[in-house]
Amino acid sequence: MTSTHPSSANWQHTSLQGGLPLIWQRRPGPAIVACRLWIRGGSSQDLPGQRGAGQLLAGLMTRGCGSYGPEALADLVEGRGAALRAEAAEDFLVISLKCASSDTSELLPLLLSMARQPWLSPDQLELERDLNLQSLQRQREDPFQLAHDQLRHMLYGDGPYGHDPLGVDGELAALQTEQIGALVPDLGQNGALLVACGDLDDELPQLLNPLLNQCPWTTAPPSPGAGPGAASGQERFACLEQDTEQLVLMLGTATVPLGDPDGLALRLLQAHLGMGMSSRLFVTMREERGLAYDVGVHMPARRGATPFIWHLSTSAERAEEATTALLDEWQRVLDQPLSLPELALAKAKYRGQDAMGRQTCGQIADRQALVLGHGLGWSYVEDSLERAQQLDAGTLLAAARRRLSAPSLSICGPAPALTAAELAWQRHDLSS
């Protein structure tokens, strides 16, 4: 029996006036609709001196658009019991809506209006900006955030991926309406798309085109091609003293875009190393040594140089042991191919993840928006599933040697633990 993978089945698509692709999937059942208006850009396109502008613009979109002021817009959305948010990530700005299907015709056009006719009132800008500044300040309470910020700077410097989408204190504080307003005309110039999933009818284009008549938006499907790169000459070690019980370790490097040929090999390595309780790091760090509660591999789906980061936190007194053990594990990835059972398990997890990501309308819309938003094409998900089954351990090892040969270590914790961990780093072959 042949079957079409659900990721490419069932989608309908058309082009709205001005070129915006509309992609939708009927999924009756719970009478819910999830929509994503995805616009390529995001915090990686923040201009120098204006880091945080993309996120500020996104936040402001929910504070008035078209004929709705800030209160009227909130009244409409909350009055329908819907969830609406807009945010900037590194590669994109996305407006997300989840609502009862009977409210779709009233709420879905808002997404276009938010992108084309945001109010950007100075008063609301001041409020949103202050809230973002306070969030940035509060993030410093979390030692994982501190270690992560430090590592990000080592990998990406002041480059496009070098800052949190929320921004950088001083630059964010200085942002004014003119700078944010200047971003609006260019939204979608590098591609945009609208994805909807749920209990939908086929009237969607008729619902949306009148608004695009009223305020034209010339855009196009996002094109393929790699996004931002890493810093040249990546720093290798950094530490930050904090009066905490644990030492947080983050070990990682900048790798390749989601669509790169090595990307899939790295994804399988992630599954092997960090996915689930049978994963290599979970077993060696937690189950066999009791070194950590939380250990894992962070590898987001980026259009540019994707970070590949291991994270672990351990008691200060075990800093040296944990650092050495973690570095040994990284070295092992560079030295040894996966055994056949390890490879089979990694592939099974990769397949399993696919079904996990197809459970709700929101998840289905998210993934479709991500794939098409990165310019990867309709069959990317099923192609990757098929290609993953063909990869062998030698290919994974070669990819690891190409992409993971010189990781950077970021640590955050009390002084004695920092000293112990730094010594372990200096003694280890990986640091040279």
Partner: protein, 422 residues
């Protein structure tokens, strides 16, 4: 109720079906034919509230130890086999109960069911693994103590729920964790994991006949009854005013805790849900609008309802600068008093009803949400249809809410903690 009566309240969702095994264990299931997965969710009334004084942290530690293998399954074998079939598993320990869940492709569900029941009902509790896993629990404790907002929350619960298990950390106290033994843990398991205290819930693309056969042949069908422990005391939140300095805190926190009716009183729980929504859900809710949007004295203000079996609570958290704490408290008092005095407009009332109803519906989209809800309901003897909470929303009126629910959140009845940067 703003919905037309002809519309089904939960479109696309059947009702759960129940099966009581001969030994008294309960199985509840709900088919979601379009789901790509099955969720198997084993629930037991064995949360931290059932620990004796000397058993501090035992419920949660046992949850960790369960994954270290059973009489039949070696250490790590469960995870390996589940994940090799494309599934994953996890568990969570609460004050009242613990649950262990597996998400798995439908074709592997029967085998996963065998594995899960064996793992949970016959834990090996090997001594060396016990010592190793205690290290992991201590690391988990240390990790949570490095989050200053966790420190503040734990302190609030301790102050607001004196003499009650809800005031003690679920992770346990370090000194007592160090004294736990495998034998004491085995006794805890024997005492609480009985047929009458366990529920197996299944949601998703179920092949019920196959699964029923597996259940009949499983340890769940053989599980003996256990004596019910004496009833836990009801929660009485102790009002008061407290202030602490917390190292590494960047913004001050105002925390407020109120006691509310327990989960068994569904009508009251839905009223509390409506009230917390009126007050703090969304930009146009009363507290968010006044404190964040108008006065601009908080970064955020949240009011969460924690529904629990021996008394629920409402927990308010406002994040602000230290010097704004007094204004924040004054503004909260004023918002509450105005609501009590002036009531609310129809549009505000409908907004709250819609938000609560949609929140409930949105939570039932995936197999995990469905299995979790029906499992927890049956575990605590709630056999109502899934629509009932939605119907209860419609049973409230704005004026009843003002008379019956609003007084419960009187700021003068709260346990208040101001946490400020040290």
């Amino acid at each position: 109720m703003p919905l037309a009566p002809s519309q089904p309240l939960l479109p696309g969702l059947a009702n759960a079906s129940d099966q009581l095994l001969a030994n008294g264990a309960t199985v509840v299931s709900l088919s979601l034919p379009d789901s790509p997965l099955v969720c198997l969710d084993f629930w037991c009334r064995a949360g931290s509230v059932f620990e004796s004084a000397a058993e501090s942290g035992m419920a949660h530690f046992l949850e960790h130890m369960v994954f270290k293998g059973s009489e039949r399954l070696g250490p790590g074998e469960f995870d390996l086999r589940i994940e090799a079939m494309g599934g994953n598993s996890n568990a969570a320990t609460g004050f009242d109960d613990v649950h262990y869940h597996v998400l798995i492709p439908p074709e592997a569900a029967a085998e996963a069911l065998d594995l899960l029941l064996d793992l949970v009902l016959h834990p090996r509790l090997d001594a060396a693994a016990f010592d190793m896993e205690r290290q992991v629990v201590l690391e988990e404790l240390a990790q949570s103590e490095d989050q200053p907002d966790e420190i503040a929350l734990q302190q609030l619960l301790r102050l607001g729920c004196p003499e009650h298990a809800y005031g003690e950390p679920i992770l346990g106290q370090r000194e007592l964790l160090l004294e736990q033994t495998p034998a004491a843990m085995a006794a805890f398991h024997r005492r609480l994991y009985g047929a009458n205290r366990c529920v197996l819930a299944m949601g998703g693309a179920l092949e019920l006949e196959t699964l029923a056969e597996r259940i009949d042949a499983s340890g769940l069908a053989q599980l003996p009854l256990v004596e019910e422990p004496c009833r836990r005391p009801a929660l009485l939140v102790q009002p008061g005013e407290h202030r602490i300095e917390v190292p590494r805190l960047e913004s001050a926190r105002l925390l407020m805790l109120w006691g509310l009716p327990p989960a068994s009183q569904l009508h009251d729980v839905m009223g509390a849900d409506l009230l917390t929504t009126v007050l703090a859900e969304g930009r146009r809710s009363r507290l968010v609008e006044r404190l964040r949007e108008q006065l601009r004295i908080v970064e955020s203000i949240d009011l969460d309802l924690h529904v629990m079996e021996f008394g629920s609570f409402a927990l308010l958290e406002a994040i602000c600068e230290t010097e704004e704490l007094a204004s924040v408290r004054k503004a909260i008092d004023a918002v509450w008093y105005e609501l009590l005095q002036e009531g609310m407009a129809e549009v505000e009332w409908q907004r709250a009803q819609r938000l609560v109803a949609n929140g409930y519906r949105f939570g039932l989209e995936a197999a995990g949400g469905v299995a979790g809800l029906i499992g927890n309901n049956r575990l605590w003897g709630r056999h109502h249809r899934l629509e009932l909470p939605l119907e209860e929303i419609g049973c409230w009126s704005a004026s009843e809410l003002l008379q019956q629910a609003v007084p419960l959140l009187d700021p003068s009845r709260a346990c208040v903690l101001e946490a400020v940067p040290a």
